[in-house]
Amino acid sequence: MVSSRGQMKIQQMIFMIVAVTLLFILVGVFFLSINLSSLKKSSVNLAEENSMILVSKLANSPEFSCGNAFGSSRTNCIDFDKVISLKDRAEYSDFWGVAKIEIRKIYPNEGDKLCTSKTYPDCGVLKILDKNVKILPYSSNFISLCRKETDGKIIYDKCELAMLLIASQDKTQ
């Protein structure tokens, strides 16, 4: 009688310990999932913040900016003759830490015609970087897209209205 009561107590204890351990594990998993989701959120926020700040400054970076090539220094001016050579340069694939960089002409509107060495300068979209990955929403900035043009007699500067678009990679999935 005494021994079976003792066995009963041990069984109760084991069940109790298993239950308490399971409770701890559940609480731990719950806490970890909250922690992970906030980590993912801050990673997304940082990536979005990065592309937002970058888009406002990228047009003035050496690879893009007009410099003094079109007279005096201009802000938010992109040298079309220069960036067309930047397209698909493998060295620059991780340089800015974003997944997509493209320039879309707004006025005059040339539609979605992609810019290549053959279609340049009569094209609407110049994809400078396209990593083919899942991306976060685009950040954009208005810019003037300038190039040298000639009518056969004189060389002149031609500037068009365009938009610079940047998107970071969505690393949450």
């Binding site: 107590k9 940082l46 990065n50 050496p62 050579s85 040298k148």
Partner: protein
Amino acid sequence: MKNKKGALEISFGWLFAIIAGVVIIFIAIYISSRLIGTQQTSISAQTGKQIGILLDPLETGFESAQTTSIIIPSETRINNICDSSGAFGKQIINLEQKSFNKWVKTDVNVGFQNKYIFSEGQTEGKKFYVFSKPFSFPFKIADLMYITSSDKTYCFADAPSEINTEISELNQSNLIVSNCAANDIKICFGKENCDINVDFSSNSVEKNGTIVYFAGDDRTLMYAAIFSNKTIYECQIKRLMSRVGELSSLYSSKELLINGKGCQNDLGSNLGEFSGLVNSLKKSSELEIIKMEADSISEKNNAGVCQLW
């Protein structure tokens, strides 16, 4: 039973509960300490990334120099790591933060290919100043960032008037031009026996017994040499020269394109040679030779029908 003196009477249930309790508490403590560690690593990684992002607005555009400050809630060590491998090399930031009065090291390195930070290998404090200046060689290459801790004051003693003016206009409280205190880091120009000695005759900076060389009239690399150590300076110079090489190749392609429109500069071959020269740079003492080539390219660009940059 009562006669057995000193014997501890514990039932099996109690013994089992005590052992199981100890195991559970031990596991709980182990898991929480691991979680705290992960949390600290995550905070360091986030702060590192945030510092990098905060440096973006310091890309000066057309301004000559600007300064800003970064305040981090806890005592922090910014480890500046420079890696010159690859096409552009990498600027790596690694943070250590103080927790319960102990420095917590993390293995998380946040890397940027488009940033050039000049500082000591380790900068410690809660408030950091970032001073940035554009670097052109001969075309604009990048904005260089100089990070200093507010705990350290740099005193530019008897500096040439243009440096005096530039430092004063920055209004950065840890950069002063007069009334140097004994514990300030003293920077002398043309004199010896200071913490940092700048010699304009050889375009060199002597610091902690090591000498590095700078080039250029805009003093951008001179400040870089002052605020960083030799290892970081030499590595960043290599990274900058790699970017000069890539930009030269970009301008070379642009030249070919606009040649067809009647814009002849004949800079293609010069840019090709220049690119080869910058990519072969091994140490800062070779900068002066490259600077001469850069000046000649700049002159040719300014005299051309269309300017490339």
